[in-house]
């Protein structure tokens, strides 16, 4: 196994020892580790919270898979909950499981781990700032997640269980408590939780943008920013503009549910032969408002991972990023187009078909920036000196998997094909390839990559690779098969589809996928063990264990309060690897220029 030296030779810069941790009175524990305003602590708080929810979300997924593979069979462990039903899962419970799996994964894991954890940790470090522009606001953005954590968590224990109308929460199923007797309070808590996630994201995003615009180190122009920062910046932009719409819609739905307004329920609709109130609204209104946020949210969930993967990949290919500006423009393009394609979630929803046609064209166009990014990543690998570290393997697999997720998207962008595959497992396969095989792999890569900066120690490479290998195998086993199920038309969200003649023969395949899913969750134990073991006992990392270029690697590991012990001054972009005529194969952004060296600035 090729490993990377952990002590950097390039570390001989001026530096004083890391700002020493002075012994502090116990009373300060809270302000330092709990209500800290330090972006790094907040980032780690986000990281740990989201990893816990990641585990919960994963377990929920396993329970979902169990029901899909072996419906109405006795569920291990969980079965105790259903003792009165003979250990089987009820369809209400199954509905709740997949709803909460998606909710937890999207709102409590992916978005906060990318923007909250990595955005917080990396933005000031990578742009050379001592902290966020508004540390208090930043702290609040973390603590506003807690009401959401509590609301979502508590909803499992209220009467009727948690929300069970899908993470899309389509009315009138959600606005009328009578429509789904299973979710009374749960759905309301869901909406409240969503509002808090929204407030938290909004606070975070305006703060990130302010920080990136105003607090870059001298010489760090916009086009010298690492891709991670560009991605975070544009993600913040997306959040700032799209999220308020969902917040507004969430309030409307909350009022529909609780006080009987009628924004989303039409007149004359009946539940169990009883009129549901005056109404006057339109269910499609929610869908439009919801997807106006949630489509950009899909990019919120992948752009930061794209940025981080670009940084990791250049570092371990020891090569400049291929096409820096096109990469930036394509992120911006994805974001811009992301706002005008939401209707492709609604092709068969009863939306005006003419509108569907316009959304189809804009959706097709979004393949462009995605293609540009993929080709540029390939271009980055081309001619490199690739080091197979765990972080690199995760990054490469991000590209490999994103290709699959991106290409399968074309199927559903084609409106006639979407008629058939909409709401089938084809969609499930598509977004799991983007969000799990894409984003989650990118996040793991980022954890392995920036772990030394977070904790001052490196993670174990061997077990990291074992973790990667198993995850990679199992994830493809789980999710690739879903494409085939989708081609049969196997619908999502069915507690039991085998009583349909068309889907009767798909049970063995689902069983196979469930085995893979169990393996996938199980092998995360390796990751967890590696993570915590390395936190305390891993080999000490120097400032720059990977010989990387970014500003964060000039700071001590872990950085002290204020991040930098020398004023970072930036002379070049972040991807100057293997510069001809330079002795080292990397040239940090802060390295002063040497006479006679030719660097093409981008």
């Amino acid at each position: 196994m090729s490993t990377v030296t952990h002590s950097s030779p390039g570390e001989s810069t001026t530096v004083a020892p890391a700002s020493a941790a002075k012994p502090r009175p116990v009373s300060e524990f809270l302000s330092t580790y709990v209500f800290s305003k330090d972006h790094k602590v907040i980032g780690l708080q986000f990281l740990f919270s989201t990893l816990v929810w990641f585990l919960i979300g994963g377990l929920l997924a396993l329970a979902v898979r169990w029901q899909v593979a072996w419906p109405w069979s006795d569920v291990p462990v969980l079965g105790k909950l259903f003792a009165q039903e003979g250990g089987q899962m009820s369809p209400e419970f199954y509905t709740m499981l997949f709803t909460m799996h998606a909710t937890v994964m999207i709102f409590l894991v992916i978005i906060p781990i990318l923007a909250g954890a990595f955005g917080n940790f990396l933005i000031p470090l990578m742009i050379g700032a001592d902290d966020m522009a508004f540390p208090t606001l930043n702290m609040l953005s973390y603590w506003f997640m807690w009401p959401a954590f509590i609301a979502f968590g508590a909803s499992f224990f209220v009467e009727g269980g948690a929300a069970s109308s899908g993470w899309t929460s389509y009315p009138p199923l959600t606005t009328n408590p009578a429509a789904s007797p299973g979710s009374g309070m749960g759905q309301t808590l869901w909406l409240i939780g969503l509002t808090f996630v929204g407030v938290s994201s909004m606070l975070g995003s305006v703060n990130y943008m302010t920080t990136i615009i105003l607090m870059r180190a001298p010489g760090m122009t916009m086009f010298r920013l690492p891709m991670t920062i560009w991605a975070m910046f544009i993600t913040a932009l997306l959040q700032a503009f799209a999220l308020p719409v969902l917040t507004a819609a969430g309030f409307m739905q909350l009022f529909d549910r609780s006080i009987g307004t009628g924004f989303f329920s039409p007149e004359g609709s009946m539940i169990n032969n009883e009129l549901t109130g005056a109404g006057g609204g339109q269910p499609l209104l929610w869908q439009h408002l919801f997807w106006f946020y949630s489509h950009p949210a899909v990019y919120i969930m992948i752009l930061p991972a794209m940025g981080m993967v670009s940084d990791i990949m250049t570092c371990f290919a020891r090569k400049p990023l291929f096409g820096y500006r096109p990469m930036v423009y394509s992120i911006a393009g994805i974001a811009g187009l992301g706002f005008i394609v939401w209707g492709h979630h609604m092709f068969i929803s009863g939306m005006n078909p003419a509108l569907g046609m316009t959304f189809m064209v804009s959706t097709m166009m979004i393949a462009l920036p995605s293609a540009v990014k993929t080709f540029n990543w390939l271009g980055t690998l081309w001619g490199g000196r690739i080091q197979f570290t765990t972080a690199m393997l995760f990054s490469v697999s991000f590209v490999s998997m994103f290709i699959i997720g991106g290409l399968s998207g074309i199927f559903m962008a084609a409106t006639p094909v979407d008629i058939f595959i909409h709401d089938t497992y084809f969609i499930v396969a598509h977004f799991h390839y983007v969000l799990f095989a894409g984003t989650a792999m990118g996040v793991w890569g980022a954890i392995y990559f920036w772990f030394p900066k977070m904790f001052g120690r490196t993670m174990n490479e061997f077990w990291g690779k074992v973790h990667f290998f198993l995850t990679f195998i199992f994830l493809n086993g789980t999710f690739f098969t879903m494409h085939i199920l989708g081609a049969v038309g196997f619908p999502r969200r069915l507690a039991d589809a085998y009583h349909y003649e068309t889907f009767h023969h798909l049970q063995p395949m689902n069983a196979f996928m469930t085995y893979c899913a169990i393996g996938m969750v199980a092998c995360q134990a390796i990751f967890a063990a590696n993570f915590f073991w390395s936190m305390f006992y891993g080999p000490k990392a120097g400032r720059n264990p990977w010989n990387s270029n970014g500003l964060e690697w000039t700071a001590p590991s872990p950085p002290g309060h204020g991040n930098f012990d020398v004023q970072p001054i930036v002379y070049r972009g972040p991807y100057e690897y293997s510069v001809p005529g330079c002795e080292k194969d990397h040239l940090m952004q802060t390295d002063p220029p040497v006479e006679g060296m030719v660097v093409a600035a981008h």
């Binding site: 090729s2 209400e92 199923l173 009328n176 429509a179 789904s180 039409p266 004359g268 009946m270 539940i271 549901t276 339109q282 269910p283 020891r318 090569k319 990023l321 820096y324 096109p326 009863g350 003419a354 569907g356 046609m357 064209v361 097709m364 293609a371 080709f375 540029n376 081309w382 001619g383 490199g384 000196r385 690739i386 080091q387 490469v396 490999s400 290709i403 074309i410 199927f411 084609a414 409106t415 006639p416 094909v417 008629i419 709401d423 493809n476 690739f480 085939i484 049969v488 038309g489 619908p491 039991d496 009583h499 349909y500 068309t502 023969h505 690897y577 293997s578 001809p580 194969d585 981008h602």
Partner: protein, 263 residues
Amino acid sequence: MRNRLAGIFWSILFLAVPVLGVGVFAIAPSIDVWLPKDVSSHGKEIDSLFYFILALTGIVFIVTEMLLFWFIWKYDAAARGDEKATYIHGSHTLEVIWTIIPAVTMLFLAIYQMNAWADMKMRRPVMKPTVEVVARQFEWRLRYPGPDGDLGTPDDLFLVNDLHVPVDEDILIQLKSMDVLHSFFLPNLRMKQDAVPGMKIPVWFKATETGQYDLVCAELCGWGHYKMKGRITIESREDYDAWLEAKYREQEATQPEPMDEIL
């Protein structure tokens, strides 16, 4: 050659992605895990478009994944000796090429399918509805126009979950929902349309073969979503008329009063 084996190992892992990926798609039809039998006239278009996109994405998939494999195989640090990585920031020409080619392809695809979409969802046949389907938790309520051919008259025929349509004729379904969102999904007819409360949405198709197939609800509609199962029977005009007649008589026998207060 330090650690070349590791590079080979990981490269082959990534090579497995296109190999197995294509393999799965190649094997699936032969074990009958594939698009269900198509018995509609417009389904051909959807299927051929599906195959077209499959071929297109398949090629891109194979090419890009093979390139990925090749690059990490070839540019493994262990394989490159002391050689430095190529110092290059990108290529303007390449960027232009790989922007324009997908752009043209995508635009072609978008325009190419517009007609099919318009046929399926926009150019509604001019005729009276064959049947009205009202979705509700958790069943499909069907309402046939009866002898006079008009819906909403006292001679309407009411059935649940048992949809019959004549073969080789244009069918126009009037789709409604009584309570929440449902989705009218006929896998074998390649037809899917959400039923929205408060809306009356036309759905049309033409069946080409007789037989019995599934009618599935494809939009989450509550805890009983999974059991919202209907059947569609496609039969010849004579059989259809006879069936209608029989059902109508059955209804008259059991239900002496017209049910026009039911919506």
